[in-house]
């Protein structure tokens, strides 16, 4: 092929490709299964977010006056506009969910242990960046839910000790959520966070390729025997394992497409700062932190409850980042890491319980033939008798 030859003479791509082929054909450990494709699934969702985000940018107008109208036009006038937006909205949920599942898988298999501490830390940073994307993106529709969830969400910044008020003004761009807030969130969403994500993601993927998928052997055994030796007999990464990942990613994409088609993302009424809608709560991934604030005492040792809530949400983040250095034992098998597994289950249980309480708070739920009214803290206030037909 003359063109390929012409390009090879100038770029040397053939030798690069040969090196890449040799690297990619290295075997993966034998225990690798479909669960190990969750990272690829997260990457697939991220690619969908980038592609649909760019398409949305063609139509979205980032101003308080025009944002809601531009989305209305996108949903009602632009061909397949509803589909692109639904993919983006559902993709955000699935991206965060997949990141959490991926991290849970790495945690259970002890994949964060040496020499992969940095891979874990970069992965944790990617999770935080993903949550940042989700928060900043949820403001952009500028409907009632977006406006008031942002009002509640940004108010958390006010609870930061010493610099709370300044931080709140910095996040909102003023005293209240408004035009400046939307501008900031938009800039963060489409420029700052992507720029921050690229190097972190690149380094994470490079480390994954460099160090390979962790084996089931203890960390010291892997270091002593060598990763390549332990992977002998495993199937090649390419094309065998890549096909397995493609299979799972294909199913995940199918799920995303079906959700986007069958439950398309709607658009609420335009943001109205004078009318607070009932039941304002953040997205599911922020519910545990949101709910945690409600259980703080009014004040403790002279520290205000809000500040306590803010401070209480910092240790989980630090725990996440410092996990490889806190759990330094070489053991990877869950049965020999009872302390770490118990801690993991505790975090999962607490997060799940807070999430459920946050979901139930200030709701009226009809179940088992009775009506349950849940208070702000998510506890049932009273059983209001037999369920009645909704009017």
């Amino acid at each position: 092929m003359p063109l390929a030859d012409w390009l090879d003479r100038r770029t040397g791509w053939r030798s690069l490709a040969a090196r890449a082929r040799a690297d990619l054909s290295r075997p993966v450990p034998r225990h690798v299964n479909a669960l190990f494709a969750l990272g690829t699934v997260a990457g697939t969702f991220l690619a969908v977010q980038v592609a649909t985000g760019v398409l949305l940018l063609f139509h979205y107008r980032a101003s308080a006056d025009a944002a809601h109208g531009s989305l209305e036009a996108l949903l009602s006038e632009v061909p397949s506009g509803w589909f692109v937006r639904s993919l983006h909205a559902w993709g955000a949920h699935l991206f965060v969910a997949t990141l959490l599942l991926h991290m849970a898988r790495v945690f259970v298999y002890g994949g964060y242990k040496r020499p992969r501490e940095l891979t874990w830390i970069l992965g944790s940073v990617l999770l935080l960046l993903g949550l940042g994307f989700a928060f900043t993106g949820s403001v952009l529709p500028w409907d009632q839910r977006a406006y008031w969830a942002t009002t509640v969400g940004t108010r958390m910044a006010e609870a930061a000790p010493l610099v709370g008020e300044e931080l709140l003004r910095l996040v909102r761009g003023g005293e209240e959520v408004g035009e400046a807030t939307l501008g900031r969130m938009f800039a963060l969403h489409v420029a700052v966070l992507p720029l921050a994500l690229l190097p972190v993601l690149g380094a994470h993927l490079w480390l994954v390729r460099r160090l390979g998928v962790s084996t089931l052997e203890d960390a010291d055994v892997e270091e002593r025997v060598g990763h390549a030796r332990l992977c002998e007999g495993g199937e090649p990464f390419f094309p065998h394992h890549v096909l397995q990942e493609a299979f799972v990613a294909n199913l995940a994409l199918g799920l995303l497409f079906l959700l986007a088609i069958l439950a398309p993302a709607g658009l609420g009424p335009r943001a109205d700062p004078l009318e607070t809608p009932p039941g304002v709560r953040p997205e599911w991934y922020f519910l545990p932190v949101y709910q945690l604030q409600k259980y703080m005492p009014r004040s403790l040792l002279g520290i205000e409850g809000n500040t306590l809530g803010f401070l209480a949400s910092i240790p989980p983040v630090l725990l996440l980042l410092a996990l490889p250095f806190l759990d330094r034992s070489p053991a990877r098998a869950p049965s020999r890491r009872k302390g770490a597994m118990a801690l993991g289950l505790l975090v999962l249980g607490l997060g799940g319980a807070l999430g459920v309480l946050g979901y139930l708070s200030n709701r009226t739920v009809q179940a088992f033939g009775r009506t349950f009214v849940f208070d702000d803290r998510g506890f049932p206030e009273r059983a209001a008798g037999p369920a009645t037909e909704p009017r």
């Binding site: 209305e72 949903l75 009602s76 509803w82 639904s86 002998e232 007999g233 199937e235 094309p239 065998h240 096909l243 397995q244 493609a246 299979f247 294909n250 199913l251 994409l253 199918g254 497409f257 079906l258 088609i261 069958l262 439950a263 398309p264 993302a265 709607g266 658009l267």
Partner: protein, 276 residues
């Protein structure tokens, strides 16, 4: 219907109402706002029952709102003094100004002036005033016009049919918009249009009292056309949303086919691989 005052019952009512007004405590002719119970039903229990069964049941001042008088008095003469009126058009006009204006400008207004009819009550009845219903156009016209002007009876019937069809079109459009919105469709403009049509109907309804039914019917027809057009747009949105579900099946089939192809390819590769 009218009997002697039941003083015991009146006193009990007054006591329950939280006070015992002394004789002459009230200025005859005025209806003090602080009196919560009208004593008219002491003598006019039947009329009060009729009012309670009609469209005016929820009014606080059910009797005095239309008739005036002094509702706190047990004395028949005093109770009927002051601004008391029997069945005046002005009583209806106090709340139904637009209807009364249209009525006065039409043929029924002339008939009322010449005392040939007794005003609104002629069609709407006295105390058991029915809730607004187009069926009245079918039943009331024939009371006077069945033999002398059957074309008026027919026109009334057709107008009632037109109004029923308009209301059905508005309700159908609202249902379709609700359903479209439930399926995440943007229907703000359609809703605004439908709301304008509803307000248009409310503004139009009083004009039927002028009894010039042909232009009224053409206005109703125009409103109905708009409501049906909104309903058709909502139906088109719903149909298009339904087509999406068919796309979902196609996507599902493609995903499944692709998954099978990937599995087959992987299986082939694994089978060709030498055992370690």
């Amino acid at each position: 219907m009218r009997g002697g005052p039941t003083w015991g019952g009146g006193l009990l009512l007054a006591a329950l109402a939280g006070g015992f007004p002394g004789r002459g405590a009230q200025d005859p002719g005025s209806a003090p706002a602080s009196v919560p119970v009208e004593r008219c039903l002491e003598c006019h229990a039947g009329a009060a029952r009729d009012v309670a069964s009609g469209a005016h049941a929820a009014l606080e001042n059910r009797c005095t709102g239309c008739h005036g008088g002094n509702p706190s008095s047990f004395d028949e003469r005093r109770a009927h003094t002051g601004k008391f009126r029997a069945v005046p058009l002005s009583a209806c006009a106090a709340c139904h100004e637009a209807e009364a204006e249209a009525f006065a400008g039409g043929p029924h207004g002339v008939a009322f002036e010449t005392k040939a009819i007794r005003g609104c009550v002629e069609c709407h009845s006295f105390h058991a005033v029915p809730r607004p219903d187009h069926a009245l156009l079918r039943s009331s016209c024939r009371i006077c016009h069945e033999t002398n002007a059957p074309e008026i009876v027919e026109s009334g019937r057709q107008t009632a049919d037109d109004l029923d069809r308009l209301e059905s079109a508005l309700a159908a459009a609202a249902r379709a918009l609700d359903e479209a919105e439930r399926r995440a469709r943007i229907v703000r403009r359609e809703r605004e249009g439908l709301e304008a049509d509803r307000l248009g109907l409310l503004a139009l309804l009083p004009k039927q009292h002028a009894m010039d039914l042909e232009p009224f019917r053409s206005d109703v027809a125009a409103l109905r056309a708009r409501a049906e057009s909104t309903g058709a747009r909502a139906a088109a949105l719903l149909e298009e949303t339904g087509r999406r579900r068919r796309w979902a099946w196609l996507v599902g089939a493609l995903v499944a086919a692709n998954a099978l192809a990937i599995l087959w390819r992987r299986r082939t590769l694994l089978a060709a691989r030498p055992h370690p």
